[in-house]
Amino acid sequence: MSKEVLVRVENVSKKFCRDLKTSLWYGVKDLTAELMGGRKGQSELRPKEFWAVKDVSFELRRGECLGLIGRNGAGKSTLLKMLNGLIKPDTGKITMDGRVGALIELGSGFNPILTGRENIYNNGSVLGISKKEIDKVIDEIIAFSEIEKFIDSPVAYYSSGMKVRLGFSVAVHMKPDVLILDEVLAVGDSGFKIKSFNKINEMMKNAAVIFVSHSMPNVAIISNKILLMEYGQMEFHGEDVSTGIDKYFDHFGGNDPKVEFDEFAQVEEVTVASSEKYINLEGMPAVDYQDDLKVGIRVKVDPTIDWFHVKVQLTDKDLKIVGIYDSFQFQEPIQNDTDIHQLEVVIPNCIFINGEYSVTIFIQQRDMILKKWNLLGLYRYWTKFRVKASDALGYVPAVVYLPGRIESIVK
């Protein structure tokens, strides 16, 4: 089922200039060279220039979806602009076959004074959909946008949500062979989001899709190929989407350990016990899927405090909180009767997905009269551990792998 290659990118690079005045002057030079016909590949950097995109190559066939990920400024948008033909590469070659549809900005060509209906035609013609084609689908577009009531009011009176709905509805009604999506799935309210997600899935069947997003769950759901960019270069490219996503998360040092509060409680050590299976593994402790997660805490609490509770918060690499344990829910407070407490929190049956997690410890006290929490100590991302589930499953857009079983029931 190898379908035709629609996008072919060969050793493409693009340089940018850091300084505005110099950049404009280079612009004049490039302009002259272009008009004189003397412009060709420029593989040398001029002063104050850097590679925004360097040596990127990939191919994409119909029916494939490439997730293009990377940190801000990694060169994703520059690459998209070259693919879309807005700017020229400085080296290499890009070949695009078929109609290219780019959902980068919604509602291009809208004029606020004109009505929604008139603007459907304006937006459409900017996107390359002729009036005839729009005449055929205009009812569908209006229905999809769900703003029938306001379609004959000026767009200036629309809410911002209504504007993107209308823009999205027009954009998805072109039938592209190559579809470029740049963070547009996040428009509208939840209901509309689901609808647009389904619509895009439908479009993807007949197109080669390049999908740029910072939402890894979305990337994992949609893409079957991945390209991770870092400083303009390809850091990872392949069909192993979950490895690409893992490598992407590796770039964030955002969860460095940090003492946020230690006035009344000082945590001296936090440990996570490795599962027996992984006891000899180097690096951070590893916990086997469905094993008990055991967090050891050595803490010193100010003598003026009589009782305290412990809260353990687990965060994944995306800084999403995936689980919280609070002793308040399960037992009486711990009495502060010794100098140093050696505690162990046992969380049975750890079912988190494969990946790295950080542990944040809250030591706190419940004020029963005012019904509020008093913070005694807060140690954020104090230690890290890894959950090892079946490698074959890889990154999934979920927090846990649900344990369960399946049986055939004979009726």
């Binding site: 272009e34 033909g85 695009m96």
Partner: protein, 280 residues
């Protein structure tokens, strides 16, 4: 299936491919240009109470000023073959047609900067839309002029049929000159800042508000000004006079057509480089 190839090489090196792609884009862009013209024209008049009247309020005010200056003897405008108010009113209207067309390319490109940087559509459409809008505005002005002249009791006769040719020449000439300035003007704002200044100077070296001086240096300057034949011939056709600069007019048209073709190519080639450098 349509194929697009992007390389760093200047497209001018493959002229046939470029011309073919241009032809395709101009054809496709024509629909878009019509759409944009309708959009901008509708929007222009929908939010205005006086609407079309604005097309003549400013030139009328201008005319009154010049008529007052002339009558009071503060400045002398020279002998005109037709009544001075008609001379100056038609002159300012015709000048406005030229001026608006000249500003259109740079204005349209700036206005649509953000779309240019995000959507790949035939760029020529913006220029063609500018020409359409120039012609539409000129049409409105022409009707106002003819009606105003009729009210003043002035009828010009059959040469009126040639007047549209003059208007089209003016719009195309303005567009071509505007296009020359656009690429640099998109990079440096100095260009759009300097245009009003230069245009003012240009207006006073063109017989818009005064008759061509009989002799002297100023006469030489006005006679050698390339815009003079366009303005004079158009006005002569409007007012039914014998066009004095017909030869110059024809030559200018030839030059304008060639220049326009060259500049459309240049605009197309320049656009990716400009988008790269402009902040949109």
């Amino acid at each position: 299936m349509e194929r697009r190839v992007y390389t760093p090489h200047s497209n001018i090196r493959k002229p046939w491919v470029m011309v073919r792609e241009m032809a395709r884009d101009i054809r496709k862009g024509n629909d878009l240009a019509k759409r944009l013209t309708i959009r901008d024209t509708k929007a222009l008049y929908r939010q205005s109470f006086l609407g079309l009247l604005w097309a003549f309020i400013l030139p009328l005010a201008n005319t009154l000023v010049w008529v007052f200056l002339n009558n009071s003897g503060i400045v002398s405008m020279g002998e005109t073959d037709i009544p001075y108010p008609i001379y100056v009113f038609s002159g300012t209207m015709i000048w406005a047609i030229f001026m608006e067309s000249m500003q259109a390319p740079i204005e349209k490109t700036t206005q649509n900067k953000s779309i240019l940087a995000k959507v790949n559509f035939p760029r020529e459409a913006l220029i063609v839309a500018g020409i359409y809008q120039g012609l539409f505005n000129a049409g409105v002005k022409a009707i106002i002029l003819i009606v105003a002249m009729a009210i003043m009791g002035y009828f010009s006769g059959w040469t009126l049929l040639l007047f549209p040719i003059g208007v089209i020449s003016l719009v195309l000439a303005g567009t071509a000159i505007g296009l020359v300035l656009t690429p640099l003007g998109m990079l440096y704002t100095d260009i759009s800042k300097a245009i009003p200044l230069v245009m003012q100077f240009l207006m006073y070296t063109t017989p818009v508000v005064y008759a061509i001086p009989k002799e002297g240096l100023s006469s030489q300057i006005v006679r050698h000004n390339p815009i003079t034949p366009l303005i004079m011939t158009t006005r002569d056709w409007l007012t039914g006079m014998q066009p004095e600069f017909l030869n110059g007019f024809l030559w200018m048209n030839l030059i304008v057509v060639v220049l326009l073709a060259i500049m459309l190519v240049a605009y197309r080639l320049a656009m990716p480089i400009l988008i790269e450098r402009m902040n949109a």
